[in-house]
Amino acid sequence: MSIIKANNLTKTYGSEGSIVTAVNGISFTIEEGEFVCIVGRSGSGKSTLLNLLAALDKPTSGELYFKDLDMMNMSEKQLNRFRRENMSVIFQFHHLLPYFTALENVLLPYMSGIAPINAEHRRAAENALDRVGLQDKKDRLPGQLSGGEQQRVAIARSLCASPDILFADEPTGSLDRETGDSVMSLLSELNKQGLAIVMVTHQEDYTKLASKILRMQDGNII
């Protein structure tokens, strides 16, 4: 069953006279449990495509479905909830809040309201940290963790809500080779456990882990 279905997806920037087409009428599907790599040169539109799929940005035109849900017609409120419950994103630069410990960073999605986090949330966060092998460092601040560990905390945060799909925007881009490999093996392990993964990367080596590769050039899949 397809988890993502994109049809003629387009994203343009700028106004009349200086329009830049970042994603140009792309169509594809992503099945449950797939590991998809999006590769291409800088400026080819791969990060823009990832942002559209992860509901971080709105397409200019086209159709985009998550399972049977029409993401193009979702309200802002529905999109917020959708991002919180169905999908997760990790970035090249970890993006952890520096004044929260590893555990608190994992708990961040649960702190979006007035209601305090409960024991169930805490348990889920600790389990997620356990899955990425950082249970013993849960009380450390991001500054006290290595780059790889910070990326693992970001992955734990993305796993906390048990998402159907994980989007990763160059997750190894700021890591050394060895640390990058360990992050990739973690992602591969998570994929084997049934988590669909869509990853943007520059490093061809890592595409061998993918079940599908989308090569992009000038906003098109080639």
């Binding site: 971080l56 991002r83 993006h95 809040l97 999605p109 702190m111 979006s112 309201g113 007035i114």
Partner: protein
């Protein structure tokens, strides 16, 4: 832990900046609260002092006179009896009104025509304790007034110290001649009310009562209405006196409010700049929060809460500092502060206003933060 934990932690993360900003806001609020109390107490003090230069309410018996006219010719008013007020009842009617705290003096008067060197002269019986409160221009100290009978003459009355005035077979010795005041009192003789009442057989009777009322806390019309409700007599406000006093007091208050408005405007601007710079620095964090599902309202609330937390603490400290600074300033200016217990309710109201200002001034930066799309915020790294 909840949304506001983010606000608190962010403040803790930059303690020096939060501290500096708090100090600035505490200073602003101290100035506002201090000025407010100083102006209030100066206004009260000014009014109390002004009330020593005459009454602003007068109580008279209901008039028993008719305007006489014949053939279209006005012949003036015809008064067919002299009426008196009951002294005790009238004073009681004034002293028991709802605004009794605003009554600073009640001065009853009985007027009789006496004889001096075969010339009729106006003799006014006064209650010296009350009279000296509203007639400080006489430069007569309360301790100078003899306990039983004391008589003073106006500078233009033609009476000298030691002269004797005859009335109903009794003799009244003039103790002192007043210095010139420029008003009607220059032509009159003033003596102890009880003595004049005894000599003329008018015990407990007065012709009219002058009242000095403090108008800052209430409109004079309310005081007049309340006195009127307690007595059958006619109660009149001397509007020109009231207006003149209130103008002086309102001038001070207006000036202070202008200064307060400037301080508040500067505070709002500072707060907005502080929050704007905070938002610009935290675009990455805002992007993360939006990416993990935070709504625009949640982002807006977190930013505003940060300002509100900061100002609620500053508000409490600023209020305390302003309140006690006001007392200190008044003591330096040798003005007695109004005796009052610490106004807890006012403090909470002021802190509430400070928090409202915080939210108002951080609304624009917060809106700016909330409007950022996750992709836009994260791409600005």
């Amino acid at each position: 832990m909840n949304l506001f934990t983010i606000s608190i932690r962010n403040l803790q993360r930059r303690p020096f900046r939060a501290f500096i900003f708090s100090i600035v806001f505490v200073a602003g609020l101290t100035a506002v609260v201090g000025l407010h109390y100083v102006s209030k107490d100066i206004g009260d003090s000014m009014e109390e002092k002004l009330s020593r230069f005459g009454a602003n309410v007068v109580i008279l018996p209901k008039e028993n006179n008719h305007t006489v006219s014949y053939g279209g010719v006005q012949l003036g008013s015809l008064s067919y009896s002299i009426t008196y007020l009951n002294e005790d009842e009238t004073i009681n009617a004034v002293r028991t009104i709802g605004f009794k705290e605003n009554i600073s003096a009640v001065a009853p008067k009985l007027i009789e025509v006496a004889n001096f060197n075969d010339t009729p002269i106006m003799l006014v019986g006064v209650d010296w304790t009350e009279e000296l409160y509203i007639n400080s221009m006489w430069n007569l100290l309360p301790e100078e007034v003899k306990p039983n009978v004391y008589t003073v003459a106006g500078s233009k009355s033609g009476v000298k110290e030691g002269d004797i005035i005859e009335l109903n077979g009794s003799s009244i010795t003039v103790d002192r001649v007043l210095s010139q005041t420029g008003d009607d009192s220059d032509n009159l003789i003033f003596t102890t009310l009880a003595n004049l009442q005894r000599i003329t057989g008018n015990e407990n009777r007065v012709n009219f009562v002058e009242v000095a009322a403090l108008c800052a806390g209430c409109p004079i019309d309310d005081i007049v209405a309340q006195i009127s409700a307690n007595t059958d007599a006619e109660v009149k406000a001397l509007q020109s006196v009231v207006k003149q006093r209130m103008y002086s007091i309102e001038f001070v208050e207006t000036l202070v409010w202008c200064i307060i408005a400037i301080i508040l405007s500067a505070s709002i601007l500072m707060m907005a700049l502080f929050m704007l710079s905070s938002v610009n620095e935290r675009k990455k964090e805002i992007g993360i929060m939006r990416a993990v599902g935070y709504s625009k309202l949640a982002i807006f609330s977190a930013i505003c809460a940060e300002a509100a937390i900061l100002l609620s603490f500053s508000g409490v400290i600023g209020y305390f500092a302003g309140y006690y600074a006001g007392i200190k300033i008044l003591s330096v200016m040798s003005i007695d502060a109004v005796a009052r217990s610490f106004p807890v309710a006012d403090m909470f109201a002021t802190v509430g206003i400070a928090v409202a200002i915080a939210v108002l001034s951080s609304a624009f930066p917060a809106m700016k933060a909330a409007r950022l799309s996750p992709a836009e915020a994260l791409n600005r790294l």
